[in-house]
């Protein structure tokens, strides 16, 4: 094969620069959503900020490995969750594992018995829970369950996307989601009634 002419080479470089700039713009447009997930996966704002910066640094370096037309948000979140596994979990205290035999109606029943049935008629129950409640409750859930709850219930990812991001089978996503939601309710009940 002959060497590409300088002209073809210049065109290739220009195309690559344009593709790269487009990729970066699209990735940056998702930063709020990426931050939101990060914020709920780690304990503090500062850690979330660091994690998002590391994610974008890695994403921008390896932009060529992204396949245009596929889900960029899921691709970014996959980088983020991998980084979070690498960095955070070593230093995070391991949450006590507690039995999760409680039922889906657990929190509703608990609040009903504490506050009377009328609590359930309105969103009043939610008023008992502050924004900190959710942060605290999430931090108490074992990480593998928390990741799934954050991706699906906060990040709005489908089961299939969450499976792809976390590199686990879809059935695992569903069972972790199930356990994660129950664990969340258990901790929210403790928050609400404390």
């Amino acid at each position: 094969m002959s060497e590409p002419s300088p002209d073809t080479e210049a065109r290739r470089i220009a195309t690559e620069a344009r593709d790269r700039a487009r990729f970066e713009e699209e990735a940056l447009a998702l930063a709020d959503q990426v931050y939101r997930v990060a914020r709920r996966l780690v304990g503090s704002r500062e850690e979330a900020e660091d994690l998002v910066q590391e994610t974008y640094a890695r994403a921008f370096r390896s932009w060529k490995s992204f396949t245009p037309g596929t889900n960029l948000r899921a691709w970014l979140l996959r980088i983020l969750t991998n980084l979070n596994v690498d960095r955070g979990r070593k230093i995070q205290r391991s949450p006590q594992t507690q039995p999760l035999e409680e039922t889906d109606y657990y929190l509703a029943n608990k609040l009903a018995s504490a506050g009377g049935e009328e609590v359930l008629e309105t969103d009043e129950v939610v008023e008992r829970l502050s924004q900190d409640s959710i942060v605290n409750a999430l931090s108490e859930i074992p990480p593998q369950f928390r990741d799934v709850v954050v991706l699906v219930d906060i990040g709005d990812f489908s089961y299939a996307d969450a499976a792809q991001i976390l590199d686990v089978p879809i059935g695992t996503v569903m069972s972790r989601l199930h356990r994660g939601r129950r664990a969340l309710k258990q901790h929210l009940a403790e928050e609400a009634l404390s």
């Binding site: 940056l28 709020d32 939101r36 039922t103 509703a108 409640s133």
Partner: protein, 78 residues
């Protein structure tokens, strides 16, 4: 609360996720139509999910976007 309510509770999460089969959906709706207890609990779960989502609608801290923008053009070998 008896067996039909247990069954209804089993269907709860998939109901809210909209992943029930048509037959299961009808089963849940039939039961909810006549059971005040489960209806309250379904409503509660719905508002709880809204709470989980909306309580997390936090915007990025100011300045983070600038930091991210500065990362553009990072070299693969850097």
């Amino acid at each position: 609360m008896g067996a039909p309510c247990d069954r209804c509770e089993e269907l709860l999460q998939d109901f809210l996720d909209r992943t029930l089969t048509d037959a299961e959906w009808r089963e849940a709706e039939d039961h909810l139509g006549g059971c005040d207890y489960c209806r309250r609990r379904y409503r509660f779960e719905e508002s709880l999910r809204r709470y989980v989502r909306t309580s997390s609608m936090e915007r990025m801290p100011p300045g983070l976007m600038d930091k991210l923008s500065e990362l553009r053009g990072l070299d693969a070998t850097a």
